[in-house]
């Protein structure tokens, strides 16, 4: 039987000097608790309790989608330059909070080295995508030489509200790889955070809340994928579902099946790292992941093409 550790009086008083944070959902620019009041315990690698996080329900999904829909039009109507600046500022804010993130990631099982490399990669990825807002149309749009006296042009437009299913890794990079192309495209988002490693996503909500991202543009909720994917995949006011390829195959099939209800577009791409690979060769794993995420074609996936005709005549 292990000897119980006793702490003397001073050290007990010391431990209450820290004020552990209550992690909540992020919806419409605010931090509400899940309407169900249920929670689950997030644990460190050694089993120690780190935080309680909400077990969100379909009602939270409903609220988040409403907020996203309300915010989408004005996000899309900002100039590309403005959106680019706002996304760049997310990087500025994240950069200032490096330590907060690396500390959390270490608790979750990252080596310190991997955590620092990953945060740098996240910042780099945000800056990379910030630069696409006012270029994607130039590279992928077109003026089409139709065989009649018409001026004909094709432009990319946002699709609307996107449901994002985060991979089950502690990786913020993976979640950002799904989020950023959508923001660039002019969509608004509801993100279902990783169930086992929700903290970086919850903390990222603080970054969003303190940068210039308008309320409701990005919403983040925590909980069980098995409880949250059904309502979001069936939701008639969600236009796109985006997720990581590692999603459980049954849930993935559900996404494809339920998307038929309103012909949602469904895209899965590889965005995550496994913790073991990360800790064993962080440099290589992160730079490979970063390289594969720096892909403007992900933006194209979540945009519509609109083609317009106009006569050319005296």
């Amino acid at each position: 039987m292990a000897k119980k550790q006793t702490n003397d009086d001073t050290s007990q008083i010391n431990t209450m000097n820290s004020i552990p944070k209550t992690y909540k959902n992020y919806i419409n620019g605010e931090f509400p608790r899940t309407e169900s009041g249920r929670y689950y315990s997030v644990e460190a690698l050694d089993g120690k309790h780190i935080a309680n996080v909400g077990l969100s329900t379909r009602k939270d999904v409903r609220n988040a989608v409403q907020a996203a829909r309300k915010a989408q039009a004005s996000w899309a109507n900002k100039t590309a330059y403005n959106r680019g600046q706002i996304i760049y500022r997310i990087a500025e804010i994240l950069s200032g909070r490096r330590e907060q993130f690396t500390n959390e990631m270490v608790l979750l099982g990252y080596s310190k080295e991997a955590a620092e490399l990953e945060i740098n990669a996240c910042i780099e990825l945000i800056v990379y995508f910030a630069g696409w807002t006012d270029k994607i149309g130039q590279v992928f749009g077109s003026v089409n030489p139709v065989a009649s006296d018409h001026f004909n042009f094709s432009r990319q437009e946002p699709v609307g509200v996107v449901g994002i299913i985060s991979p089950e890794t502690p990786s913020l990079l993976g979640m950002l790889g799904l989020l950023l192309p959508n923001m660039v495209a002019g969509n608004s988002q509801v993100i279902i955070a990783s169930k086992q490693f929700p903290l970086p996503s919850c903390t990222f909500a603080e970054v969003l809340a303190t940068s210039d991202v308008p309320a409701g543009t990005v919403n983040i909720i925590t909980g069980l994928k098995s409880e949250l994917i059904p309502p979001i995949s069936k939701h008639m006011d969600v236009d796109v579902l985006v997720g990581d390829c590692s999603l459980d195959s049954e849930l993935r099939v559900m996404c494809e099946l339920e998307s038929a209800s309103n012909m949602k577009k469904v895209y899965f791409w590889e965005s995550f790292n496994s913790l073991e690979e990360l800790n064993s060769s962080p440099n290589e794993t992160i730079s490979t992941c970063l390289h594969s995420l720096k892909d403007p074609y992900h933006i194209l996936h979540v945009q519509e093409v609109k083609t317009t005709w106009h006569p050319i005549s005296e």
Binding site: G84, Y88, D134, K135, K294, S313, E314
Partner: protein, 503 residues
């Protein structure tokens, strides 16, 4: 229903009529927070050289004709030092910097320009004469936007050149004019750096100040030494730069005359070169246009920035049926233009950049009158000191008049009429220039038709003098070669294969 006979106004409303003559009091922009030096050296290899009185020249504040500061006239060995520094940086630090890193530097430049925006705006107005409202609302924000835009290309060049592996050209020699000093600097430096080049830039001799302040900003950001070098000076300095054997590219914005001289002087070297030269834009106003907005467009096209705009709509071509109405509306609008101290927030038209330019403008107007034109100028008072010219319109001119053929570069508009669409197109194209034109009509199909026939690099429809970093700008014919802005703006700064660059 009949028109009412309403000559009798209501009588029960008993408001006493007290007509007042309401004018705007002075609203000076504060300059107390702004700092600049009285003497500047050259910015070479990351630091300023020591100022030497014997090698200096003064820069005049056009508001009062007084000396504002002195800077150094770069001689042949200074130019050599600058090119050497640029070459060293290209081979060493900058040449090995990744696109991602380059983008981070350029983003920082954009952000810091935003942070220091007001100071730059005040200095731009003091040095060059343009109204503070223009430098504050247009020049400086747009300069930051060009850096922001090109920052985003630095790590994405493969997408701008599908099928090719773009490489930088090397050391770029850049010469810019005095009409939009900081903005022209941004148009040159941002794409050059994004593509991995290093730069030696010569600002115009009457407007060096914001370029020199920009160097301080580069030091604060920690841009590696030698990536950007600024050498102040006049025509001689420009010559040394263009003739230097170790430059890889020339970018020049200025008059067509000087552009031709440069083109001739590099003939034996087959150097890639882009030129953005003069213009004589036509402002084509159809009878089905939104006339009030068109009149405001005319004001934007020719009177703002004192007409010192290469793409200015300096020739109004108005459809005969609405000519009288338009001229009447224009004259009324001109009466509300305020010519005054550039640092007054209500000033619409600031100072002409220099004594020489003022004399040039006056000469042209005199020639116009001699050749038979009628002249109308806005009647507001002009400041008593400094270089000022009132917004002016010249009617009774024809296609062959000197004032219609030659670029005046001042707030002077010539007015001609036309009858048919094709006539307007012919007149608009009948010039050796081809920088920009404007089309004003409510009919979309006409915009596309006329636009497709105009021989100019820029066509503005129902708007004028609009600039954006994503939008390519440049001229046909003697207005130049190459484009700045957009993906086209990158073409000038890369080499795509063993054949070299695109220009």
């Amino acid at each position: 229903m009949s028109e009412k006979n309403l000559s009798d106004q209501s009588t029960r409303s008993n408001q006493a009529s007290i007509s007042i003559d309401w004018s705007y009091a002075n609203a000076p922009e504060s300059t107390s927070h702004v700092t600049f030096s009285k003497h500047y050296g050259l910015f070479i290899d990351g630091s300023f050289t020591e100022y030497n009185e014997n090698q200096s020249f003064e820069s005049i504040n056009p508001t009062n004709g007084e000396s504002l500061y002195r800077c150094t006239e770069a001689n042949k060995s200074d130019v050599d030092a600058a090119v050497t520094a640029a070459r060293k940086a290209f081979k060493g630090t900058w040449g090995t910097t990744s696109g991602t890193q380059r983008s981070h530097y350029l983003y920082r430049i954009a952000r810091m320009l935003q942070e220091r925006a007001r100071e730059f705006a005040v200095l731009e107005s003091m040095d060059g004469g343009k109204p503070i409202r223009e430098s504050r609302d247009i020049d400086i924000p747009l300069a930051a936007a060009y850096f922001f835009y090109y920052a985003g290309w630095a790590d994405k060049l493969a997408y701008a050149f599908p099928g090719k592996s773009p490489k930088p050209l090397g050391v770029c020699a850049q010469i810019i004019p005095w009409n939009f000093p900081l903005l022209m600097l941004a148009w040159k430096i941002a794409p050059a750096l994004a593509c991995g080049n290093t730069v030696v830039l010569k600002p115009a001799e009457t407007t060096s100040l914001t370029a020199l302040k920009f160097c301080e900003l580069l030091q604060d950001i920690g841009l590696p030494d030698g990536v950007v070098n600024i050498i102040t000076g006049a025509a001689k300095t420009g010559e040394y730069l263009v003739q230097h054997p170790d430059i890889d590219k020339i970018a020049f914005t200025g008059s067509t005359g000087v552009g031709k001289v440069i083109q001739q002087s590099i003939a034996e070297r087959q150097l890639p070169a882009t030129f953005e030269l003069g213009g004589k834009g036509a402002f084509i106003l159809f009878d089905d246009a939104a006339l009030n907005e068109a009149v405001e467009g005319i004001v934007n096209a020719i009177f703002f920035n004192q007409g010192h705009v290469c793409c200015a709509g300096s020739r109004l071509l108005v459809q005969e049926g609405v000519a009288e109405k338009v001229i009447d509306l224009l004259k009324k609008r001109m009466q509300h233009l305020i010519v005054g101290d550039p640092l007054d927030k209500n000033t619409d038209i600031g100072a002409v950049n220099s004594k020489e330019q003022l004399e040039t403008i006056q000469r042209y107007v005199n020639t116009g009158i001699q050749e038979g034109a009628s002249c109308f100028e806005c009647s507001g008072p002009l400041p008593t000191s400094g270089y000022y010219f009132p917004p002016t319109i010249l009617t009774g001119v024809s296609q062959s008049s000197t004032v219609v053929q030659e670029e005046i570069f001042g707030p002077v508009l010539t007015i001609q009429t036309f009858r048919t669409t094709d006539e307007a197109i012919e007149k608009a194209n009948n010039t050796p220039y081809g920088l920009a034109n404007g089309i004003w009509t409510d009919k979309g199909s006409k915009i596309f038709y006329v636009g497709s026939k105009l021989k100019s690099g820029v066509v503005w429809s129902n708007t004028y003098n609009k600039f954006d970093p994503t939008s390519p700008f440049g001229g046909f014919k003697e207005s130049g070669k190459g484009r700045e802005g957009g993906i086209s703006g990158l073409h000038a700064y890369v080499k795509l294969d063993h054949n070299g660059g695109m220009y």
